[in-house]
């Protein structure tokens, strides 16, 4: 299949998650919504169900969710609740609600209360002390709970064998996406910022086997291309999410390519694989323990500036000339890490801009001006 055809398919899926859910349901599959961050989707897959990532919406407006939320909460969480309340997600069979930030903590309660008698909500609390043995044990205990709840929804027992198989499928998916990120950075003439986002975003709405097959096909096409002589600029994107095609179009219009990313919705979630041998629950817990350099996660060596140093290295390794931080409004973990990110970037002589974003933004005039001006200094 040609690159163009593949990209078109990714774009279609990326823009129509509800259609995807309906198609799965029509095939008799059960679908479980998975909220950010770090939920072990492998368990959903191993239970024979489809995990559906829920990262808010670029098309909805907060209305019914106001009954639960004050205004100063991130729109990703609020719009997830909005879609649960307005019927968009009525076809779901369950919902996993992680609680790793201060918005998701109380929101886990709002989801459960609002969905009472309508949708089983599976609570998940990750440990911040995830690396020591007692932390790994706690992750396993939590995942065990999630597993039990998923089994109730699916009616299937999740065997170790099925879970190991799921881990393989997910490792392969992550590897394919990581390679795609690299190839997209090398071929911005073919993979626009808008297309790149669609490829990565659609992963949340597809059964991973299908998504991986398409990404691997795309990667093969990209690998076969001659090296690209890019005349524009290259940047690293950072933040929770930047999947709005209108916003990303500004980058394409200004010949700014995304060399790599430090975005939760994209690469932060696919950096670490799980072991394919041994106890698969332990493998998933160890995988979470191995997650690092994330604003959401506790750093045992916090008196160093490891995360920011990691991002600086990513920029240098990817050939990016600067960093664009998509600062999700009301995201305090991201905001808390900004001063030290800025410090490391300044020390390394890397220019950056911080763009305030939220999912209800419809007018990107200001962002456009800022991005254009930024391109000029790169």
């Amino acid at each position: 299949m040609s690159i163009e055809v593949l990209l078109k398919e990714f774009a279609e899926i990326s823009e129509h998650p509800r259609r995807q859910i309906q198609a799965f349901k029509a095939e008799g599959k059960k679908v479980v919504g998975v909220l950010p961050y770090y939920a072990p989707e492998e368990l959903v897959y191993a239970a024979g169900m489809v995990p559906m990532g829920i990262w808010g919406s670029n098309k909805k407006t907060i209305s019914m969710a106001k009954e639960y939320c004050a205004t100063f909460y991130c729109t990703i969480a609020q719009l997830a609740l909005e879609m649960l309340l307005d019927g968009t997600l009525d076809d779901l069979d369950g919902l996993i609600t992680p609680t790793i930030c201060d918005t998701l903590r109380p929101m886990s309660q709002n989801f459960r209360v609002a969905m009472k008698d309508k949708l089983p909500c599976i609570f998940l609390a990750h440990p911040q002390q995830r690396k020591p043995a007692f932390g790994i044990q706690f992750t396993m205990d939590q995942y065990q709970h999630v597993k039990g709840e998923l089994e109730k929804i699916s009616g299937n027992t999740i065997t170790d064998e099925a879970l190991r198989e799921a881990i393989k499928v997910y490792n392969r998916s992550r590897a394919a996406r990581r390679e795609f990120v690299k190839l997209a950075g090398e071929h911005p003439d073919v993979i626009s910022a808008v297309s790149r986002s669609a490829v990565l975003r659609s992963a949340w709405f597809m059964i991973k086997d299908d998504h991986t097959a398409k990404v691997e096909a795309l990667n093969a096409e990209l690998r076969a291309l001659p090296p690209c002589d890019w005349k524009g600029k290259k940047i690293l994107t950072s933040g929770i999410i930047c999947d709005n095609p209108k916003l990303l179009q500004i980058f394409d219009d200004n010949q700014i390519a995304i060399a790599a990313d430090d975005v939760a919705h994209e690469s932060r979630m696919i950096r670490v694989d799980a072991a394919e041998t041994g106890d698969p629950m332990m493998a998933l817990a160890q995988q979470f323990a191995d997650q690092d350099y994330d604003i959401l996660l506790y750093d045992e060596n916090s008196n160093q500036n490891r995360r920011a140093d990691f991002v600086v290295k990513q920029i240098k390794d990817s050939g990016a000339q600067g960093l664009v931080l998509f600062m999700q409004q009301f995201c305090d973990p991201e905001e808390m890490e900004y001063p030290y990110l800025k410090k490391a970037l300044d020390a390394a002589g890397i220019p950056h801009i911080k763009l305030g974003v939220d999912q209800q933004m419809r007018d990107f005039g200001q962002a456009s001006t800022a991005i254009q001006a930024f391109a000029d200094v790169l």
């Binding site: 909460y73 903590r105 109380p106 002390q129 706690f138 506790y298 916090s302 808390m336 001063p339």
Partner: protein
């Protein structure tokens, strides 16, 4: 009318003064001083005789001293977004070395007085003295210098070769505002327990980075059930053991079981006395205002492991028993309505919060902090369970049950809900809680927007309107009951 101050209240004030004074002294002597989150198990540090300070209590104090804005602004200038918790911003600015200071003339080394400061001058009959401009004259004794931002690192980098330079440097050191929260020693280590919020994790990581000090972390993940599951206890219990090892390495001392048990006994005694003091709000009319409890929180936060805190609360308990006996109350108005105040108060705006309540005869007879600090336990596992149940780490059912319990016990007629811009975990499920209070208890609720530390997020007009609305609803409720 000046409020009469009871012996218990005086004792409580002294306890907090001593905590700060002891830490300053410890620092002077070259001993380690730590900073700790308010609900980190203080019993662990006490076993090592460590002096520990509490940035949340400090930030509240700085905000109440009207320096919240300048410190928040200083943090914003360091790159911290104004959306971040006000306590965290104040604390991070402080950790970075920023201080609210008094403006002075570098030549004369005299303070530059702000003409807008100070209280009106009164004559011997208590009448306000008017100036020639027709405006009330200011009492010069109460006038203050302008507030400016300073930086201890800048000060310490100043030269001190000439006498003039030395005098200037010393004066600049002294110009830092003299209240205790602005003179808290910098940390040699930090103790973080994120049971109240995850913001705490990143806040303390930032302090550790800024000051290059070790961080000891107790992670308490959010809990979705009223019970604390054994696996959760095991996780936190293991962290207690881990923290003890880290403290042993830090101090070079062995964990002192006896001191630990002593601190536990004191903490239990303080918590029990605190709860009994809180229970005096059940009397109708209450012998004091719940706003006073906010002031005493400093003791529970900074000194619950000290015997003096337990004794002071027990003294206050006696004072209250006496007040009830003679029918006295420190509330400076007749109590017409009783409400629960939900959330942390807006520290920079306490008088503004109080004003419309006083006008309408609304006494705060229930605050969520009452059960929130009542850590009572008999052994290490129970201690884990106690610390697991912080205000923002519990599920909605537990949160509602705590609140409805005190609403019933303390006989409230309504609930005033602070939607606190600084506190996402606290405000995050308040709308649902409000619905439950009204449904379960048949009492009206009113919410207002504010902030625990940043005065820019409080709208006085909105607050007054909401209090007015609550009063009308409580009035209608009372009429219906009588009717």
């Amino acid at each position: 009318m000046a409020k009469e101050v009871s012996p218990g209240v005086l004792a409580l004030r002294k306890v907090v003064e001593d905590v700060y004074a002891d830490a300053r002294e410890a620092k002077k002597q070259g001993k380690l001083v730590g900073w700790s989150s308010s609900k980190f198990p203080c019993e662990l540090a006490a076993a090592f005789d460590l002096d520990v300070m509490y940035p949340e209590n400090q930030a509240a104090g700085i905000a109440a001293n009207r320096d919240g804005e300048i410190m928040c602004q200083a943090a914003e200038d360091l790159g911290f977004d104004n959306d971040i918790c006000g306590y965290a911003r104040i604390s991070l600015a402080y950790a970075a070395g920023k201080r609210a200071s008094r403006k002075f003339d570098p030549e004369t080394l005299e303070y530059v007085i702000n003409p807008a400061s100070g209280r009106p001058l009164k004559d011997e009959n208590g009448k306000v003295v008017m100036g020639e401009d027709g405006k009330p004259k200011k009492d010069p004794k109460t006038m203050q210098p302008y507030t400016v931002l300073d930086d201890i690192h800048e000060i310490e980098a100043l030269p001190e070769t000439t006498e003039k330079e030395i005098a200037y440097k010393n004066f600049r050191r002294e110009a830092i505002k003299p209240y205790r929260q602005m003179r808290m020693p910098q940390p040699d280590f930090v103790l973080c327990c994120n049971n109240i919020c995850n913001c705490m994790t990143k806040w303390y990581e930032n302090i550790a980075r800024m000051c290059n000090v070790p961080l000891i972390m107790i992670d308490i993940p959010y809990n979705n059930t009223v019970e604390v599951h054994d696996t959760n206890v095991a996780y936190v219990r293991a962290q207690f053991d881990h923290a003890i090892k880290q403290l042993e390495e830090l101090t070079g001392k062995k964990f002192d079981e006896k001191k630990f048990e002593e601190a536990c006994a004191n903490a239990n005694r303080t918590a029990s006395a605190w709860l009994r003091v809180c229970d005096y709000l059940q009397y109708k009319p209450a012998p004091y205002s719940g706003f006073d409890l906010f002031n005493h929180m400093a003791d529970v936060v900074t000194a619950r492991g000290r015997v003096q805190a337990a004794e002071a609360f027990e003294q206050l308990e006696k004072d209250l028993a006496e007040a009830v006996k003679v029918g006295k109350s420190t509330t400076p108005f007749p109590e017409k309505y009783r409400v629960m105040f939900e959330g942390i108060p807006c520290w920079p705006k306490l008088p503004n919060l109080f004003k419309p309540l006083k006008e309408h005869g609304v006494n705060v007879t229930a605050v969520v902090y009452a059960p929130a600090f009542g850590f009572v336990y008999n052994n290490m596992d129970e201690m884990v369970r106690a610390y697991y149940k912080a205000p923002n780490s519990v599920c909605i059912e537990q949160g509602v049950s705590w609140r409805e319990g005190i609403c019933k016990d303390n006989k409230v007629d309504g609930v005033l809900v602070h939607y606190n811009r600084s506190c996402k975990p606290w405000s995050g499920y308040m709308a649902e809680m409000q619905r439950r209070f009204t449904e379960d208890l048949g009492i009206p609720c009113a919410g207002f927007d504010g902030d625990q530390a940043d005065p820019r997020n409080f709208n006085e007009a909105q607050y007054e309107t909401r209090v007015q609305g609550l009063v009308e609803a409580m009035e209608a409720n009372a009429e219906n009951k009588e009717g």
